[in-house]
């Protein structure tokens, strides 16, 4: 069994204190502060990262249990010099204000668009068995695990729809 965890393509040894959450491992041990701690209890989504393709709350999982896993954080999605389409859209549509929930929103939205493509259903899906579409109502439900206290939701939805439509056109 590997005793390392892959973060944005780089292998790192697991933390020595098993209590270390994946979130604290990223922030404290690796200095990857892009992933935010908003509540530490899975109640806000600011700590969302993508593990083996699935978005999760990094605060509610132990880093030591992710040996061999492939983790993508906000730092792995884009940089100021080379931002991802969602990052560009969030800036264009002002899909943030204070910016603290934003990396979590972007990670979440990145995985969410893949989930729609993969046909995952949501509480907003009228029909569980038909094709899933990135409608405003679907995006609102699927992004409800990421709180934004500044109240940028309307712009977040606009940014994501923009990218979803570009994706459809591509």
């Amino acid at each position: 069994m590997p005793d390392t965890i892959t973060i944005n393509g780089t292998d790192h040894p697991l933390p020595s204190d098993p209590r270390t959450s994946l979130l604290d491992f990223l922030r404290q041990d690796l200095g990857l502060h892009g992933t935010k701690k908003g509540c530490d209890h899975g109640q806000c989504g600011a700590c969302t990262v993508i593990v083996n393709g699935m978005r999760i709350n990094s605060c509610l999982t132990l880093a030591a249990l992710h040996d061999g896993d492939d983790v993508t954080t906000i730092e792995g999605l884009g940089t100021p010099e080379n931002p991802s389409p969602l990052q560009v859209a969030f800036v264009e549509h002002d899909g943030y204000q204070c910016g603290y929930c934003t990396p979590g929103q972007v990670c979440s939205a990145t995985a969410m668009l893949d989930e729609i493509k993969a046909g995952f259903a949501s509480d907003a899906s009228a029909d569980l068995t038909s094709e899933m579409k990135a409608t405003a109502e679907e995006i609102r439900e699927r992004m409800s695990g990421n709180l934004c206290r500044c109240g940028a939701y309307a712009n977040i939805v606009a940014a994501i729809r923009d990218v979803a439509e570009q994706g459809d056109a591509a």
């Binding site: 270390t20 502060h33 892009g34 806000c44 954080t73 409800s144 500044c150 109240g151």
Partner: protein
């Protein structure tokens, strides 16, 4: 040199409108946007400070009394623990906004359940958190502390009292009288970034990276708390992950980090847990309000009454200013207004976004809706008929007044049906649908502000202030303002904020930031323009700067010829504030669905129309309005602090059980900005905007619930149970 203005006269010159760069007001994307979306913008706890230890705050488990002893020895024996600190300088509450002096200190005296009493410092966060949970504290509890507002004798806030004419008589003679009791629950700011600080001492100089809104006041508060001179303190808050009032005053983690760093001789980081942010920072007081309106046959008010009971800890000066806009929003010669405070032992009450109006306006706007119904007058029309020409209490002119335009334009854009209104007109499946509206008003404030603008020989500029950007867009509007004034590109302006080594700004709070710091920047730029005009051999008023050059002449680089120009702008509110009533105004329109079985309410559509002076950035201004509307939805439907009746502790102290709105709670939202120039508000003719978007919005939703299903709910938030309680079958 300093370019100083104390504004005593209206400014109708609108000098900014003569600038030619054409960037001010435009929907420019945030200059710090890429840093935020890529996670590279550093917040307080994230500065890479070597060798920082972690501190965790310990809070009281009694209501009132004193800490007799703390078993430090057994905690110190735990792995990694460096210190248990209960220094008498520790603060037990946050400072109120603009206090400028130390808040309550002395952790041995307990005034509420959940009050900070100590801080545990350890090598790692997990070690510190574990030791904090283990710390054994012996208390001497004092019984009988009043915990509920109804348990305490209310104290009248006499400066809020208005007694004009005879309201009782007006009510008895009114064609249509409304007399309602409305309650609102407490709210939490719940900014996404928990309160955090890293303190480090270098010799006798203290630097704290913190998450604070008003460094200009916070530096004085921290220095006073520690008993040291201000010039030994530096505060840095470049990015603040939301404030909404909760970070106005220096808070417990800042002081705890500073004292802990001093005692352990190395930097210390203290981050509050989410539960602590809820339990020991600031709450918006619950309110009990009485609204009385006396209208004549035409719906014109001749009596107006608004009374409110709020609460706070003994000794706290802040009282939720529920009546703030009731003093001037509507006319009515016979007026009775009264604000009372009950002294109780719950956590401190303080500013939460739009203190006062956030809860006072929705209540007033329900009363107006009831009056409209009783009078048989359209709710928009009723409001239009009651806009006073002058401040009805102070008899002062308004600086500018866009309420009528907002009501009319908003109604038109929303598609408001001004025909006869009766509830329960449309049932769509299980859902009653309906519409409602409300006025918006939020007093305009300004504060003293300084900013230094430097024009570099290469034709780029830099602006510095200790002003903060808490998500409002300050970085961007300052870049636009400087770019506009100096005729350069927005990208050529470097904005440096959030550091007390820079000139003192006004801080972010009370929606005064943009108008105040913008005015300081404006003054500095005017001075730079005078210097440039001199070099160009012309008058400043004639100087046209565009795209880095004098229009049709030399470039800035040539004009500067290697010289750097720098000036500090210094803006002070002047006498003009006493000769006018200044406020932002607006109107909300809402369309909701109410489930006929479960009483659940969904806001399908909301529109806000707002007039707040000059729009400095269409994109960020709109976002501020969207934020306010989102908070309106929370205040209307979901947000309520619940306090235990036996010890006063906040029971729903996390984001799972304190329900801030989620994405799905917010339907289609539209914002209409009714642009204007307010000559009194500031030299840049701009007013505040951060709070206006929630000053009445919850009332529009409440009125829409009534129109939809006939439930006239008189308590916020309008959760399913409260709707069902009064929904006709």
């Amino acid at each position: 040199m300093t370019a100083h203005l104390k504004q005593d006269e209206p400014d109708t010159e609108n000098f900014l409108d003569t600038m030619k760069q054409g960037v001010l007001g435009k929907p420019v994307s945030r200059v710090e946007g890429l840093a935020k979306v890529t996670g590279t913008a550093p917040y307080a706890a994230e500065y890479p400070i070597e060798n920082a230890a972690d501190g965790v705050i310990v809070t009281s488990t009694i209501v009132r009394g004193e800490v007799v002893s703390i078993d430090k020895a057994s905690a110190l024996a735990m792995p990694g623990v460096l210190a248990i600190i209960d220094d008498e300088r520790l603060t037990t509450r946050a400072a109120q906004g603009t206090a400028g002096e130390a808040p309550q200190q002395g952790p041995t005296q307990v005034f509420f359940w959940g009050q900070p009493i100590a801080v545990v410092v350890a090598e790692t966060f997990e070690q510190a958190r574990d030791a904090a949970k283990h710390l054994k504290v012996e208390y001497r509890a004092e019984e009988g502390a009043p915990l509920d507002p109804s348990d305490a004798e209310p104290e009248e806030q006499e400066d809020e009292t208005v007694d004009q004419g005879d309201l009782a008589q007006a009510m008895s003679r009114a064609d249509h009288a409304v007399d309602l009791a409305i309650t609102t629950e407490g709210h939490a700011s719940a900014a996404m970034e928990p309160h955090a600080a890293i303190a480090q001492w270098e010799g006798d100089k203290l630097t704290v990276h913190a998450s604070l809104q008003m460094l200009n006041y916070n530096i004085a508060e921290l220095a006073d708390t520690l008993g040291i001179a201000e010039d030994r303190v530096r505060l840095v808050s470049r990015y603040v992950g939301g404030g909404f009032g909760s970070k106005l005053g220096v808070s417990e983690e800042v002081v705890a980090a500073a004292i802990a760093a001093e005692q352990v001789g190395r930097p210390v980081r203290v981050v509050m847990s989410r539960q602590q942010v809820f339990q020991c920072v600031m709450r918006r007081s619950e309110t009990t309000q009485r609204l009385r309106l006396a209208g004549d046959g035409e719906g014109k008010l001749y009596g107006f009454g608004h009374e409110a009971l709020v609460s706070n800890l003994p000794g706290e000066e802040f009282a939720e200013p529920v009546l703030q806009s009731s003093h001037f929003l509507y006319g009515g010669a016979n007026r009775a207004l009264k604000l009372e405070v009950a002294r109780i032992h719950r956590m401190t009450a303080g500013s939460v976004r739009a203190p006062g109006e956030a809860v006072g306006m929705p209540a007033l706007e329900i009363a107006m809706d009831v009056l409209a119904e009783k009078s048989g007058i359209d709710p928009v029309e009723l409001r239009l008929r009651n806009i006073p020409d002058r401040d009805p209490e102070e008899d002062l002119p308004f600086s500018s007044h866009k309420l009528a335009e907002c009501l009319k334009q908003g109604a038109e854009r929303f598609g408001w049906d001004s025909g006869a209104r009766s509830p329960r007109h449309t049932l769509d499946g299980e859902w009653w649908t309906g519409t409602g509206m409300a006025s918006a008003a939020r007093v305009h404030n300004v504060g003293e502000a300084r900013a230094r603008v430097t024009l570099k020989p290469d034709g780029t500029a830099e602006i510095r202030s200790d002003m903060t950007d808490i998500g409002t867009g300050t970085y961007t509007i300052l870049a636009q303002l400087v770019a506009e004034m100096l005729g350069i590109a927005v990208d050529d302006v470097l904005v440096q904020l959030g550091d007390t080594d820079f000139p003192r700004g006004p801080g972010s709070g009370g929606s005064w930031g943009a108008a105040s710091i913008g005015s300081a920047a404006y003054l500095a730029c005017r001075a730079l323009r005078r210097m440039l005009a001199e070099k160009a051999g012309t008058d400043e008023s004639e100087l046209v700067l565009r795209d880095g050059a004098v229009d049709g002449g030399r470039s800035l680089v040539e004009l500067l010829d290697g010289e750097e120009l720098s000036e500090e702008g210094h803006y002070e509110p002047g006498d003009i504030a006493d000769s006018h009533t200044a406020s932002g105004f607006g109107a909300f329109f809402a369309e909701v669905r109410v489930n006929r079985f479960t009483g659940e309410t969904r806001v399908d559509r909301m529109l806000g129309a707002f007039g707040f002076g000059r729009v400095l950035n269409e994109k960020t201004a709109r976002s501020q309005c969207l934020g306010g509307i989102t908070w309106s939805i929370g205040a209307a439907l979901t947000e309520a602090l619940h306090f235990d009746p036996n010890d006063g502790h906040l029971v729903n102290c996390d984001l799972a059980e304190y329900h801030v709105p989620v994405n799905r709670d917010v339907g289609e939202v539209e914002v209409l900005m009714v642009e204007e120039r307010d000559p009194v508000a500031s030299p840049i003719q701009a007013k505040g905007i951060g709070e206006l978007g929630m000053c009445g919005g919850a009332g529009a939703i409440a009125n829409a619930i009534y129109n939809a299903c006939g439930a006239r709910v008189l308590s916020f938030p309008m959760t399913p149970d409260r709707v069902l309680e009064v929904m006709p079958e």
